[in-house]
Structures are given as structure tokens and as C-alpha cells.
Amino acid sequence: MKEIYLDHAATTFVDPRVKAAMEKYWTEEFGNPGSFHTAGLRALRVMNAARASVAKIMNCASEEVIFTGSGTESINTAIKGVFRASKAKGKHIITTTTEHHAVLETCEYLQKHEGADVTYLPVDNRGQVHPDQLAKAIRPDTVLVTIMYANNEIGTINRIAELAAVAKQNRVLFHTDACQAGGVLDIDVKKLGVDLMTINGSKLYAPKGIGVLFMRRGVQIHPLIHGGGQEFRMRSGTENVPMIVGFATALELATQERAAENARLVLLRDKLVAGILKSVPKTFLNGHPTERLANNANISFMDIEGEALLLYMNEHGICASTGSACTSKSLDPSHVILALGLPYEASHGSIRFTLGKYTTEEDVNKVIEVLPEIVLTLRKISPVNIDMKDVLPQERLQEKVQEVKIK
């Protein structure tokens, strides 16, 4: 049975071209970029070229690109780093309710142990944060605003340029978690107007274990890791040359192929969404209908529990995910789905499908083909019968019909 992997938001495979580009730097060219000999110099040159390539794509200087060990590390460095360096100004951080745990848990840690005061901005029922709400939340002691570029669960894209502009007017630093956006959205930091930005390799067909933190020149942080002073003293530790090469290659490929690949994915995504909404009653799309990642379809199925649905799909070789209840270590429903204002009973059956480079139309067709029967099987044994009117407002129910009609 062919495995249909529709969980690219969890992680992507390593593009074979990326793997090939890295190959040389494990055993042949293994030098330490900090060494004072030609083997080290060769490594330094390769790393500089990789850094320059990433900087060019992000439209910043090489000195503003810091390589880290993961997206999570970049996020921790940004949030803790800015917070600890800004104590003279204040201890207030602004973020949102739908951030990734890397942001939420870091903020919670600072709240608990370092006296941070954190404001969690709400999102609208599509998952977007509004600039006026950010403006209202900013205080004289606000030291950092951190808002995600695109949501990992529902794919909603935030209008980062508008939000960052609000922060800038108020002279507050702005960090965006762009882990899901790297490679698929424009990450030009000048256009976005951000001071810090996190990108993660394992979401853009580079290996796991490499991340980038863009840090605008002049931004002061306390680094998390101290030592030999690598990465402009912001992240000590011998540079991971093969991974850095892999990251730069992957980002370059993604940027080159972005327009065509996004166009292809949007068609497949919309086909998947329309197909499911049409063939399975009592379903709806979570997130923004248009301002969403090209590869993300997050769909709620009423009356059944998401994990049971995943198990059935797994039997058909379909790998998807649920942000809800039982698969995660917590039994609570997804904080993102709840933040959209859906009632609790509608928050346990959401499934996230995230498409990727190798996803084909046949894959999408297979999902549309097997899902109705799976859902029916589970609904038959469910004593629950939720009225859609209690879940979605009238206009969303109407809209659902229209969404299906397009195809």
C-alpha cells in the first residue's frame, strides 16, 4: 500500500537535491570554520556563501542571519533574549492565543520565573490578529511583540507587515515565528518590517535540527548559549556546516520554485477541501478561506473524535494529524481551534491535512474517496448528533455551500 503523507506541517522529507548538496560536508570537507588553517578556511567560505544566500532571500545582511539548532531554539533566543536585555524598559510581552507551543511555553516560563507580564491577543474566527487590537495592547513597558506569520494548525496567514508597523510606531521590537512560512511565503524582512524572524529547516525540505534567527542590526539580546562566540556571539557552538549548507540550499530551491509549487498546491488543496465538504456532511473548513497556506486544509468533522478518524485513515495509508485531544499528550482540545470561538463539542474532530512536494492529484482523490465511508462508520457508533446551527453562525453555513459550488 502506498503511503500518502499529508503531514508536511509536522515535518518535510529532505529534498534529494538538498541531501546531495550536503553530502560533501560530512566526511570530505569537515573543517571547523573557526580553525586557522586551510581546512577551516574552506569550511568558513562555504558557510559564508550559505549565509549570504539566506540573507539575500530574506533581504538582509549576512551579519543578521544566525544559524541555530531548530525553530524552537530561534524562538527561545528571540523571546528570552529580548526580554532579558530589555529589563530597563519593562517586562511586558505581547503575543497571541494561537501561537505554537514554542512561543506559548517560552512566554509562560518567563511569566513564572522571570516576572514577565504577557498579553495574549485574541484572533478572529478565521484566526487572524487585528492591528488595532495590537495597538491597544501596547504599553510603555512593552518590550516585545511576537506574532506568528502563518499558523501551523489552521494555516491562517497573519498580516505581519501591518502588525509590525504598529509595533514600530510604538518603538516596540517585533518577532515573527515564520516556521510554517519559510519557503512558501515572502520572507523579505524589509517588506515585513520585522526586527526578528524565526525559520525552521525541517518544514522546508531541509533536515531537522537547523533553524535560522534573523536579528536586525542594533537589536540587543542576551544569548541563550555561551561559549566560543560563534554566530556573532549570539549562539556559541561549532557551526554545523553540512546542515547550514542544507538549509541554504533548501531555502534557495523553495524560493525558486515557490510560485509554481504554490499554484499547484492551491489547486490540490482546494480540490481536497471541496471534495470533503461536498461528500461528507457536517464538515467545515477551519481558518481563513483565502489567506491561508497553500498546503493546509484543516477540516472539522462533527459527531466523531479526531483520533479515531486518524486511526482509520492510517489503515488506508493516509498520514494526517489532529491538533486535538487524544493524540497529543494532553486531553484538552486544540488551543487554536478553541481560539476561533468554536464550541467545545465542535473542537474534538478537526483534522489537518498538509500537502507537500510529492503530493499528487491521485493522493487527494484517494482521501476524498475513502473519507466518507470512514466518517459514516464512526458516526454510526456515535451517540452524538450535533446541530450545525449550534456550531457555525448562519452566514458560515451559507458560505460552506458556496465554497463547495466553486468546484
Partner: protein, 230 residues
């Protein structure tokens, strides 16, 4: 140079042992999968439910909590034996598999004496399923609770009110009105230490006098549901 290959197997050091959630495989055993994909004694149509003449019906949970279970039972009054057990659920794979197994245990070999049925524990079901990931244990409790509710319903309907077992909640934290049931829930959801339980329930934050009792209850429920800590 020869290559060394790591095979994806359960490491012998981890087999049959309680391990950290990060090490634990989420995957279900063949028996669990069998019961999940082919649940026994389950109602699939409204007609089956309408035509059924149950002696007791029990329902616990709610879709808002993420799981809900409804159970119908038949009882042979003369022998005080539960003879049939039917059910439906809105729940995850573990809830489906464990309730299916529970329904089999109750109705096999001509049924089960009510007295014995009331003594069934979630870990008896888990034992028959061979195993369930520890963090999915919570899900197996649902069927057990629905069964108790159904048996109570039978007692009431058959005029045996004195036999109804009410699991009365006792207030532990007098300021926040937190009961032993709240603590039981927290333990089932995976809380191990007093701090875990406090994080979930806020118990003992204001009413500090209840802390020793809470600690005792945590030990009691952990032993009840997960066996003694080794």
C-alpha cells in the same frame, strides 16, 4: 567500513515497563486494533436502539469533554446476572476498543453477576486488551463509568433503590469547593504529583489545610488506576 543499521524495534529495556511519555509508542496492540476496527456489541442504527428493550441505560461524558459513552444493559433478575451489554460512543480509539472489550467481558459465558460487574476495574479491561498506552488509560474509564450508571438505572427501575451506588463527591478544598472527583479526574488525566494536580484543579492554593488529604487521594487514585508505583 561496514554500516551499522538501527532497526526500529521496541528496545528490550523498555518492554513492559512504565516509561516517559516521550519514549512510549502510541501504537495499539493487535487486540486493541481488532476491537477498534470491529467493535463488538455496538449499536449501529437508530432502529436497533428503538427495538431494544433494555433493563438499564447509562450515559456519561459529553461531546464537549471530547468523549461520551452510552450503554444499554439487559439483566436476568432471577439470577441477578447482566446478560447483554450494548453501547455507542463518541470517543477515541482507546475508548472504542476498551468498551468493546468490556462488553465482551460482561456478556461472555452467559453473562456476569451484577455484584462482579460492579467490581470490574478499568485495569481489568486493559489487562484483557494486553495493553494500552498509559496516557490513553483515561479513555478506558469511560465505559466502566457508563456501566455503573446503567446498573444504577436498572436498580432504580426494578425497585432496588437500596442497591444504587452513588459515587458521592466529597468536598476537599473548602474554599474552592474542589471534590475528590476532581482529584480523581486530574489523576486520570495523567497528573502524578501534587503540583500536577494543583495545576489542573487549583486545589490547596487557598485552602492549604487540605494538602495532606489531597496527597493521600493522589496516592489512592494512582494505585487504583495505575497500580502501585514501583
Amino acid at each position: 567500513m561496514s554500516a551499522i543499521t538501527l532497526k526500529p524495534v521496541i528496545h528490550p529495556d523498555l518492554q513492559g515497563k512504565k516509561v516517559a511519555a516521550e519514549l512510549e509508542e502510541w501504537f495499539y496492540t493487535d487486540i486493541v486494533k481488532d476491537h477498534f476496527f470491529s467493535p463488538r456489541n455496538i449499536f449501529r442504527t437508530q432502529k436497533e436502539i428503538d427495538d431494544y428493550k433494555p433493563d438499564g441505560v447509562g450515559m456519561v461524558g459529553s461531546p464537549a469533554c471530547g468523549d461520551m459513552m452510552k450503554m444499554w444493559i439487559k439483566v436476568d433478575k432471577a439470577t441477578d446476572t447482566l446478560t447483554e451489554c450494548k453501547w455507542q460512543t463518541f470517543g477515541c480509539g482507546s475508548a472504542i476498543a476498551s468498551t468493546s472489550m468490556l462488553s465482551v467481558m460482561l456478556s461472555e459465558n452467559g453473562g456476569m453477576k451484577l455484584e462482579k460487574a460492579l467490581q470490574l476495574k478499568p485495569q481489568d479491561i486493559v489487562k484483557r486488551l494486553v495493553d494500552l498506552p498509559a496516557r490513553k488509560f483515561h479513555c478506558s474509564v469511560l465505559g466502566d463509568k457508563a456501566l455503573r450508571a446503567a446498573i444504577n438505572d436498572y436498580f432504580r427501575k426494578s425497585g432496588q433503590d437500596s442497591r444504587v451506588v452513588v459515587e458521592g463527591a466529597k468536598i476537599i478544598d473548602k474554599i474552592l469547593k474542589i471534590t475528590d472527583k476532581d482529584i480523581e479526574e486530574a489523576v486520570l488525566e495523567g497528573a502524578v504529583t501534587f503540583e500536577d494536580v494543583q495545576k489542573k484543579t487549583k486545589v490547596g492554593i487557598q485552602d492549604k489545610s487540605c494538602i495532606p488529604e489531597v496527597e493521600q487521594l493522589i496516592r489512592f487514585y494512582r494505585e487504583k488506576f495505575f497500580g502501585a508505583d514501583k
